[in-house]
Amino acid sequence: MTALEAQRVPAVFVASSEFAPAADAQGAALGFRPAAVYVAHPVQDRTDDEMRALADDAVAGVWASLSQASRG
């Protein structure tokens, strides 16, 4: 992610909310906080329909973090 941002490619990662503390710590260690969108935990044992619903919820945040458009 940092490599892509360094090459001027806007990047965002999507992760379960459980991932947030680890991501923060890594961001602090690297001195760089990439854009992140968090989805509700758990992820692994979701049905396909539930996974698709997570994507529906996440798309606005993804769009906002990769462009200058405001959320929504």
Binding site: V9, F13, R33, V39, R52, D56, V59, L66, S67
Partner: protein, 93 residues
Amino acid sequence: MTPRQLLDPTSERGPADRPRTPRPESLQGLTVGLLDIAKPRGDVFLDRLHELLSARGVEVLRFRKPTYTKPAPIDLRREIAVRCDAVVEALAD
């Protein structure tokens, strides 16, 4: 470990953090890469994101890391950087 501190050589009018790369005004008409980091079921999530972004006028390209446990290989990163205007990595848990 004691944090390493440097003194700021700038006018300090901007933030001290390393900035993210500038974003385009909109993603419409651009190419967005979806990078599957190879955790199970991530593909279902990304398939849906693919539909949603395409519906908003985005050209979507799909990529997949060979394994979750290591960073994306340099060729893959280069390919993404060359072919895409932005990238989404998913889905970590």
